[in-house]
Symmetry: C2
């Protein structure tokens, strides 16, 4: 059985492009006891992958040149030497950007397609959904009547943040780029207000949408949006930071003036809490509750989700670069098989 | 009975100077029932006062032009129409920069000079000590063996932070300006290591003094010290922010490049917690424990303190400006009487 793999060819300076990646086809090794072979059906594309392309210090080691691009995947078992998995079973694995893979049976999670579409394991019921759930509830801690703001609001994290905020009785304000996404925020996801960060009067719109200020800003974007939002934060506001997609392609610190002293001054005088996190640090404490709550909310329709499915592994590089520019509309998934 | 008052004459642009203040002498009003008249003996000078001179939004309203400068004071009761206070009693009040004042008896706290020198109510056993105690224990939460770093280490907050950190089993690293203060950090306050932020090799010294990185940085300074410290923070480090004295006289944002994106990136990839606070938000939750613990530690000599006493209210303006430049050596107190 062969696998076609997309590997890191060279580290991008700024935006990743065609020269960042290389494609290789090779034979999979023989199955060992306890392993399964997988035909990859879906690959998840997520902003965090950009961080793994650079050598900057982070919570995870960077990819080496020549490594297969990492990523969450849904695969179908082709051959099994693991008790409890049979050919035809769907599993969640971390097989990366390739068409087939070998995995240890105890490193994958079996999915039940009758409960929810298997792609949700990469989105609302998977890592992005858990990022929203744990970050909002553990760090953001929205109280009834408070205002929660989130950017990239139609993305898998942002859309879940807004809907969970509303379930908890808070007012949810979503930010997105362009009229279609802004419409989806209120119409599809039920945000109380939606604003367009590309609009020339974005700052005024933000002010109008947050008449009582902002109590929780769920930060997954950074850049100009953060700069506008931070001026409307209330005393004791909480800012969970799970991503900074606007900054990921930066090649050097932006031009001045230096806003850091200003930010620290706000943190001081408004008693702000800013807390960076990666969802995995909350798996032990919140994982079980997430499976229960989110399964229930998705099942009942209280939490909806939107997928942007791109066809063909060969289109993963351009879809990935587009995502970093905000071009995806919903959770970005590559249909591989 | 007359009082000589120092009032705000005009808002300073940058450093406050002689033109910032004006001195007025006037008669105190008659005592009403429930009030006491006070001869002010000591006035506390603290960095937070700089914030009250500007109109920038903060947790407290700014002073108006013509207002008496605010501040904590130790006064001696001259005349009393309040049950429980007699002439000759010492009290903690918030009478500001003046030689005498009227106060409501239930707005002051009686001090017992036989337990501790009355000036400690303005320092280690007062607001600065409580700032250190609550910020370090509630936000910093040092664990045994962790590294705690604090700047302005000989000041009333920094010296208490270092000593409490050691009581909790952490390693305390102090930062101060100049060889005399650096010596005091280890010799008088028992810090495990001490470094001079004015030394040309400050960054190297910081690295050598924190071989295991930094788990808690108690931020009361800002500026270049923070910029060096933040590069050595460990994953899950906590940063209580109680002051930014290096920034208080800034008249505009510093020149670029803009470090804000870099700071947010660190917050994200290291799962940092940054939390601004003012001590008063913890009075209800930690005030009683502070009085018990700090009283015990000061009594037993486990927590030592250093006072810098300036003679004469007329010298308060220059002492205040000097403090903002880091010229005081210990808790700055003006002997008024």
């Amino acid at each position: 059985m062969d696998t076609t793999q997309i590997r890191l060819a060279q580290r991008p300076v700024g935006e990743p492009d065609a020269s960042t990646f290389t494609t290789v086809t090779e034979a999979l090794p023989e199955l060992a006891d306890g392993q399964v072979s997988l035909a990859i059906r879906y690959l998840s594309l997520d902003p965090y992958m950009r961080g793994r392309l650079s050598t900057a210090k982070s919570y995870a080691d960077p990819l080496e040149i020549g490594d297969v691009m990492i990523g969450g995947t849904v695969g179908e078992v082709v051959e099994s030497r693991f008790d409890g998995l049979l050919p035809g079973d769907f599993v969640l694995s971390y097989s990366g950007w390739q068409t087939a893979a070998i995995a240890d049976g105890n490193q994958v999670r079996k999915l039940d397609p009758s409960v929810a579409p298997v792609t949700t394991a990469l989105g609302v019921l998977g890592m992005p959904g858990f990022t929203a759930y744990a970050g909002l509830l553990e760090i953001g801690r929205p109280k009834e009547g408070e205002t929660v703001v989130v950017a990239a609001g139609t993305g898998p994290v942002g859309s879940a943040v807004g809907q969970i905020a509303r379930i908890k009785g808070a007012r949810a304000v979503g930010i997105a780029g362009g009229p279609d996404k802004v419409r989806a925020l209120t119409e599809d996801f039920g945000f109380d207000a939606a604003i367009d960060h590309r609009a020339p009067d974005f700052v005024d719109q933000l002010r109008a949408a947050t008449p009582d200020g902002i109590d929780v800003y769920f930060e997954n974007v950074g850049g100009a949006v953060f700069d506008a939002v931070r001026r409307r934060l209330n005393t004791y506001a909480r800012i969970p930071v799970c991503g900074l997609i606007a900054n990921y392609n930066l090649t050097s610190a932006p031009e001045g003036p230096d806003q850091m002293a200003g930010l620290m001054g706000q943190i001081l005088t408004k008693s702000l809490t800013i807390r960076g996190f990666i969802q995995s640090e909350f798996t032990r404490s919140h994982g079980r509750d997430f499976v229960r709550d989110m399964g229930e909310w998705v099942g009942s329709g209280q939490v909806r989700y939107l997928e942007d499915v791109v066809d063909g592994l060969e289109n993963a590089p351009s879809a990935f670069a587009g995502m970093l520019r905000g071009e995806n509309f919903g959770k970005l998934v590559v249909k591989v098989g």
